[in-house]
């Protein structure tokens, strides 16, 4: 099944972002208040506010009580044999609710060619909702209670020519994940900690569908982030995200086995409207039947907030 080609070119995308950016600069009063710098997190690859690979219990943007905020982001993950481009938006309100949308485009490069599908791009849309349940990550450093949030992410994949293969492997092209996140800023130590537990059956985050033959159920996967705030504008940290492995074994034996993900990042927020995040990522093996080496590389993300 082939869908109509998307008409968004990089140029158009750039223009859209530029317009958004100018809009942000033109209306600085709107976001003059709100939470302190860095406390909105950055945009995760799935669109929800958090670290780069994992959602946090913090809601996006700098909107605090009775305020709402918007963020938009573009992210590129350049791996040895693949590339992932993501763009998305998030809206959050009252430090209570966050609604996000992200579109991922995964370039399979030589692997697609090896599978007889040259030029194959896996495209995934993610609609997500996050609800803060309790706690305040920032203002209660004297208490143990972290900020808690419950999130749901619905992922739908357009696998193009790979769809019949995924079907044969028993993987669905859409799936829903639920996660619980706890975030705490240890203010006296300038350290932010997040732990997320995700119920998922996504293969490579959903880019290879959800579940596999004989492995239909969700499993609980932990994700952790640690960030050290160096100053008001810069944070460095690390993340680890455990993943299910529902296509291992498959028709291809262990040729589709997957690994956990981790990264080391630095985030810079010169002001409340812009943040830049760079990271070294290790996404483990991706389709080792074709590419046997670990997929390490660079992650770069730009977020505009409003």
């Amino acid at each position: 099944m082939r869908t109509a080609p998307r008409r968004t070119t990089p140029l158009r995308r750039g223009l859209a972002i530029l317009c958004f950016g100018l809009g942000v600069l033109a209306a600085p009063a709107l976001a003059a208040s709100g939470k302190p710098l860095l406390t909105g997190g950055v945009s995760s690859i799935d669109g929800a506010a958090g670290g780069g690979l994992t959602p946090w219990a913090l809601t996006g943007s700098y909107a605090t009580a009775n305020e709402s905020g918007l963020t938009a982001f573009i992210t590129r993950v350049a791996l040895q044999d693949y590339a992932l481009d993501v763009r998305g938006v998030a809206w959050s309100w009252n430090e209570r609710l966050e609604l996000s949308f992200a579109r991922q485009d995964f370039d399979t490069r030589a692997t697609g060619t090896a599978l007889g599908l040259p030029g194959l791009h896996l495209k995934q849309d993610i609609v997500a909702l996050k609800l803060r349940l309790a706690g305040d990550a920032i203002l209660d450093p004297d208490r143990w209670q972290p900020q808690w949030a419950l999130g749901i992410e619905h992922k739908s994949l357009d696998a193009d020519g790979l769809t019949p293969t995924l079907r044969a492997l028993g993987a669905d092209t859409s799936g829903t994940e639920v996660y619980l996140s706890a975030t705490k800023l240890l203010l006296a130590q300038s350290v932010l900690v997040n732990a997320t537990l995700r119920a998922t059956r996504a293969n490579q985050n959903g880019l290879l569908g959800h579940g596999g033959t004989g492995q239909r159920h969700h499993s609980l996967q932990p994700e952790v982030s640690l960030a050290w705030l160096l100053n008001r504008r810069v944070a460095v940290g690390a993340e680890y995200r455990a993943k299910p492995d529902k296509l291992n074994p498959s028709l291809l034996g262990d040729g589709l086995r997957e690994d956990d993900w981790w990264d080391l990042f630095v985030a810079w927020t010169p002001n409340k409207h812009v943040s830049l995040t760079a990271a070294y990522v290790d996404l483990g093996r991706i389709v080792p039947a074709v590419q046997t080496r670990r997929q390490t590389g660079a992650y770069l993300s730009l977020q505009l907030a409003y």
């Binding site: 003059a32 208040s33 709100g34 939470k35 302190p36 605090t64 009580a65 009775n66 305020e67 920032i138 203002l139 209660d140 450093p141 004297d142 208490r143 143990w144 705490k184 240890l186 203010l187 006296a188 130590q189 300038s190 350290v191 900690v193 732990a195 932990p222 952790v224 640690l226 705030l229 160096l230 100053n231 008001r232 680890y240 455990a242 956990d260």
Partner: protein, 142 residues
């Protein structure tokens, strides 16, 4: 690997939370002692007065008196040899409507003042960790 990482994270959280500020006057001295706190408080009060959002709340307030009170309060909180004899935070702010955004604005102004006083970021956060819980008495509007 996975389990160990989670255990390490938990240990980091459990070890650090609750261990807010050790007893003693280390933070008081890191903030420049009594003189440093007086400079910081005066700078902070000036900024708060001049701020578009929270400034109006300080109209008619005796700045000298207020900054002396703040210096005393910070001094006592950080283990310095002072006695804060001002009102509690609830009474001190009771007549003004203060929401969370106002509170965060004041935090930022204090950060600006601490930056201006050349205080290291880690020291700033140790002070903020002592002040942040006061939001329970200061924020009085949803």
């Amino acid at each position: 690997m996975k389990r160990r990482l989670i255990a390490l994270t938990l240990a980091a959280v459990l070890g650090a939370a609750g261990a807010a500020e050790p007893a003693g006057d280390a933070l008081f001295h890191a903030l420049g002692g009594r003189a440093g706190l007086e400079r910081l408080a005066a700078d902070f009060v000036d900024r708060a007065n001049a701020d578009a959002r929270v400034g109006p709340a300080f109209d008619g307030v005796n700045r000298k008196h207020l900054s002396r009170q703040i210096a005393d309060h910070f001094c006592q909180l950080t283990g310095g040899p002072c006695v804060y004899d001002g009102g509690n935070m609830k009474d001190a702010h009771g007549e003004t409507r203060i929401d969370k955004g106002d509170f965060y604005r004041v935090v930022e102004l204090l950060q600006d003042a601490m930056d201006h006083q050349g205080l290291p970021f880690a020291v700033q956060n140790r002070l903020l960790a002592l002040l942040a819980p006061m939001h329970r008495d200061i924020i009085n509007a949803p």
